[in-house]
């Protein structure tokens, strides 16, 4: 046995990330509670653009995923990896660049999202300069982590670290591919892929953001903190190996289950379905290894809130990873998709698995790095029960709401009419469930406040041990490992391990994405797809800015109930060729309001209807829960980037003629004049809101938005009938 060496663990960086996680968790969940209340009281948007649902819903998701969970991952990874590898982190400088860089990214997100600067892609909303910053900081995290592995004293990598490695390589891959975009200004861009291709890439990313940001790193944390907290050996090393590799290999294929019954080709949808189903066992492998590690410690679970949090977290993980595959079965997905089921499902995972595991880990870890004991076990127990109740009150009403609303969407009278032909009827019905959900959210948030109080008092009682003394023998590079298994060998080779993890995740992505790039989107001969006019394009960008896609889908599925509701005249569901110029695609994933893909074909959807509706939705639909958008009636159209937009889109394949960028502005005004003329023919002067400048109508943003809405779906009309 060689001489032991002394060294110090860096606890300061752990403290920083943990504090950031708690603070941003508070903010992120507060915003979540707020938007839950906005659905009940639409006026809570305060008639301000920055606080409207469409803009701050992504703020909520980004804050809880990347700031709360993200910082918790870094705290947990940096705490555990030093101890598992018996070394200080690779570089204090990189650790600090990582920390401050990540917080700056969060700050940038918190500023840009309320300003409406968004790519509109779920969990990838941030625009190109921030995307680049994320890539840089993420690479720094990777260098710091792999560097730590290289200077380790421990010979082998523990299973937790396998999960950290998989997280790092896969997120890098996903982030880069999904954010391929061409800037048209210093803060805005259009994506490389359009329509159905964009949809596949985005949900390959989106699903795996769940898989490799909310799942694999947390499995890593579970593998370190649960056996530590329970003081029990891990149940099965074999199970770790099998479920790790099968999980990362299979997960990457599952993205298309977000696009079932869309215009994605059937083969890709089917791959999404079957790979999701095959994920049950690998996912449950993690749950089993967690729960069975507690064998012999169950008597302590009753008394120890930390173990209780972990048990519920792992159970919630098991529940949502069973539910996910079930929702990937097409006939079930037909019910759940676009409803609140998705919201309920995702919150079982986030509130239960991510939230509760974070609480458990922090309750265990933070007193240790502060050299003290948790201030109050009793308060932690209170937090546990109130949080558990919160999860139940959050999710059960939403499942109920989803089921109810879907049944109403699909219901027909015997003589063939939709029983609830106005979408609002199906919204009013589920409002009581939204109220219950807000109560659940409040309970969970109350639990968070108790947690924060308990942790802050604990921190005050103790003192941070910035550098914690440890000792271990150096790694013996000459030691022979004859007779070891192939996997045991791999555990000694971090770089090789990383490469194999990359291979495992790259296969599924390539097999699905590459053929999609060559999928035929041919437009039928009697039809045509018109590129967006400059005014429509401007309106579309406003639609994106306001986050309309958060509540309105543009994807009519091939169901009788959908064609009858959204395209009663033609009874045509959405076709993939209709989206060939859609950058970004705006299919949406939730219908809090109706689908808009054929909005332009609605007889009653006149210019004046939209004009009145966006100004005050309740003047048109009495029970509407849509926020008002009064600022569109005073803000004027920004033409400063119009030229660049046209150029970038042409470069990407939209057939604007050469030189069109120079007359785009002219075209924009010509069309705006037509919209204004229509509006004036429909409304008397007295019907316009007082603050609207009637003489300046053609320059107002609302005109562009109306032009876009009136264009939606018109390509389905044959050329000779247009």
């Amino acid at each position: 046995m060689s001489q032991k060496e002394q060294f110090y663990y860096d606890n300061e960086i752990v403290r920083k990330f943990a504090l950031a996680s708690i603070v941003f968790g508070f903010i992120g969940m507060l915003v979540g509670l707020w938007i839950a209340l906005e659905l009940i009281f639409p006026s809570l948007n305060l008639n301000l653009p920055f606080t409207t649902f469409g803009r701050i819903r992504p703020l909520h998701t980004n804050a809880v995923i990347f700031a709360f969970v993200g910082n918790a991952i870094f705290a947990g990874v940096y705490y555990s990896i030093q101890r598992l590898l018996k070394t200080r982190l690779f570089s204090d400088v990189l650790s600090n660049i990582h920390f401050w860089g990540w917080q700056l990214i969060i700050l940038a997100a918190a500023i840009t999202l309320p300003l409406g600067i968004t790519s509109s892609y779920e969990y990838a909303e941030l625009e190109w300069p921030i995307d680049i910053a994320i890539a840089v900081i993420w690479v720094i995290f990777g260098i710091n982590m792999i560097g730590t592995m290289i200077k380790r004293r421990e010979a082998h990598l523990y299973v937790a670290i396998w999960f950290y490695i998989a997280t790092w390589v896969t997120v890098t891959l996903l982030h880069v591919v999904n954010n391929l975009e061409v800037p048209y200004s210093w803060i805005k861009s259009y994506p490389l892929f359009a329509g159905v291709q964009a949809a596949l890439v985005q949900w390959w990313y989106g699903h795996n953001a769940v898989a490799f940001f909310l799942t694999t790193p947390y499995l890593g944390l579970m593998y370190y903190f649960l056996p530590k907290a329970a003081n029990r050996p891990v149940y099965s090393y074999r199970l770790s190996i099998i479920h790790f590799w099968s999980l990362i290999f299979l997960y990457i294929w599952a993205g298309p289950h977000h696009l079932l019954y869309s215009t994605l080709p059937d083969w890709a949808q089917s791959l999404g379905t079957v790979f999701s189903l095959m994920l049950i066992a690998p996912s449950w492998g993690g749950m089993l290894n967690g729960l069975l590690t507690l064998r012999g410690a169950w008597d302590r679970v009753a008394n120890d809130p930390i173990l209780k949090f972990m048990v519920v977290a792992v159970t919630a993980y098991g529940m949502s990873t069973f539910e996910g595959p079930m929702l990937s079965i097409k006939s079930i997905n037909a019910i759940s998709h676009f409803t609140d089921w998705t919201i309920a499902h995702v919150h079982i995972g986030t509130l239960g698995w991510n939230g509760f595991l974070t609480f458990g880990v922090f309750y265990w870890m933070l007193p240790r790095i502060f050299g003290t004991k948790l201030h109050s076990v009793k308060l932690a127990n209170t937090h546990f029960w109130i949080g558990t109740l919160g999860i139940l009150f959050y999710s059960i009403p939403l499942y109920w709401a989803a089921w109810t609303q879907n049944l109403m969407w699909e219901q027909f009278t015997p003589d063939g009419r939709l029983t609830h032909s106005e979408f609002i009827q199906t919204v009013t019905q589920i409002l009581p469930m939204y109220r219950m959900r807000a109560i659940g959210a409040t309970l969970y948030f109350t639990g968070l406040l108790i947690f924060m109080y308990n942790i802050f008092v604990t921190m005050k009682n103790g003192k941070i041990v910035k550098n914690e003394l440890a000792e271990a023998a150096p790694r013996d590079n000459k030691k022979s490992y004859t007779g070891e298994t192939a996997h045991r060998l791999l555990e000694r080779k971090p770089i090789r391990f990383t490469v194999w993890a990359l291979v495992a995740v790259a296969i599924g992505g390539m097999i699905e994405i590459i053929p999609m790039l060559f999928v035929d989107n041919e437009v039928p001969k009697n039809l045509s797809v018109e590129p967006y006019t400059p005014l429509e394009l401007t309106g579309r960008d406003i639609f994106i800015r306001e986050g309309c896609v958060g509540c309105h889908s543009q994807m009519i599925r091939p169901f009788r109930s959908e064609v009858e509701r959204y395209d009663p005249d033609n009874k045509e569901y959405s076709k993939s060729w209709e989206y060939i110029y859609d950058r970004p695609f705006l299919w949406g994933s939730k219908r809090t309001g109706p689908d808009l893909h054929r909005e332009g074909l609605k007889t009653t959807g006149t210019e004046s209807w939209h004009f009145g509706h966006m100004y005050d939705p309740r003047s048109m639909i009495g029970q509407s829960i849509m926020p008002a958008y009064p600022w569109l009636y005073t803000k004027t159209i920004d033409e400063s980037t119009l030229k660049h937009k046209i150029n970038v889109l042409r470069m990407l394949g939209t057939p604007y003629p050469e030189g069109y960028e120079d007359i785009a502005s002219e075209d924009l005004h010509a069309q705006a004049k037509q919209v204004v003329a229509a509006l004036k023919s429909q409304l008397d002067e007295k019907d316009f809101p007082a603050e609207v400048d009637i003489n300046n109508l053609e320059n107002l943003e609302i005109i562009a938005l109306i032009a876009y809405l009136k264009d939606l779906g018109t390509d389905i009309i044959p050329k000779d009938k247009k």
């Binding site: 089917s270 079957v274 169950w298 064609v563």
Partner: protein
């Protein structure tokens, strides 16, 4: 695989697997065919829920009983009573459970303890739980069957075909239903209703469907004022019925026949007529001919 219980489990699982496919087929074929083929979708869902509840119940039972047992053994240890081997095996369920999990009991875990030690975390080398392995194989088999069924053998309808089938099915059902109804009220037979029930239903529908353009009080906004004596397309109940039913081409007045039943349209038309002379404030200027 000598154990018979294990075989039963496989049979049940295979049955389940088949059920999953039938549920899909049912989406595409007629209900009658599905009834002959297996479960309906609701039945399948019911079975899943039922099995999940049973599984949850068994798990809770197992957890509680093993906790009780460990407690009991602890007490026995404290009292100095020797713990016997058969303490660890009570009844058939335990046996079954053991077969399912194939776990080395906690008391003998040193037998499968690996020499791994990561910051004090040790690892056992328990076997993969057989039920878990079976589950994994079943899902893989299901994947192969699913892809084979839909994409290789092309036995099941894909979504475009499924849509056509469903639309045809609905059309047949609706026309069969319409055939059983007698003559429905139309623009030639519509009559002005004055009873409370009809007018209040007409009012409800008017507020839901018409108020956005004609204002809730009928004073007109995008659409004309409905409370004055001037009419663009006729002001008798039959003309109003016709306007509601077919709409007015190239205006915002949509045809409502696919959203409102004939008697509903009659009620709305009657309600519109009841608004005559109500003189709401700030109305739209008269349009059309005085009648």
């Amino acid at each position: 695989m000598k154990n018979t219980k294990y075989k039963y489990l496989l049979v049940a699982a295979l049955y389940f697997l088949g059920g999953g496919n039938w549920a899909h087929a049912q989406d595409a074929t007629t209900k009658a065919a599905a009834k002959a083929g297996g479960f309906s979708f609701q039945e399948l869902l019911f079975i899943i829920v039922f099995l999940v509840i049973i599984a949850a119940f068994l798990t809770v039972w197992k957890v509680v009983s093993s906790m009780l047992k460990s407690q009991q053994m602890q007490i026995m240890k404290e009292q100095g009573t020797p713990v016997t081997e058969d303490m660890q095996d009570v009844g058939g369920f335990s046996h079954f459970w053991k077969k399912l999990t194939d776990a080395v009991p906690v008391e003998r875990e040193e037998d499968v303890m690996l020499d791994h030690d990561y910051d004090g975390i040790r690892e056992l080398d328990n076997k993969l739980p057989p039920w878990w392995v079976a589950l994994f194989y079943i899902t893989i088999a299901w994947a192969v069957i699913y892809i084979g069924y839909y994409h290789v053998l092309k036995l099941g309808p894909l979504q475009a075909e499924e849509f056509e089938i469903k639309m045809k099915e609905a059309e047949d059902q609706v026309s069969a239903h319409l055939a059983t109804l007698g003559a429905q009220v139309d623009e030639n037979t519509a009559e002005k209703k004055t009873d409370e029930a009809s007018l209040s239903e007409g009012k409800k529908l008017f507020e839901l469907k018409c108020a956005a353009c004609h204002r809730a009080d009928g004073g007109g906004l995008v659409g004309p004022n409905l409370t004055d004596k001037y009419w663009l397309h006729g002001g008798d109940v039959k003309s109003i019925f016709k306007t509601i039913k077919y709409g007015v081409p190239s205006t915002a007045m949509a045809p409502w026949a696919n959203q409102l039943a004939p008697d509903e349209m009659e009620n709305v038309a009657s309600y519109v007529l009841s608004l005559q002379g109500t003189n709401p404030p700030d109305p739209k200027a008269p349009e059309g001919k005085e009648e």
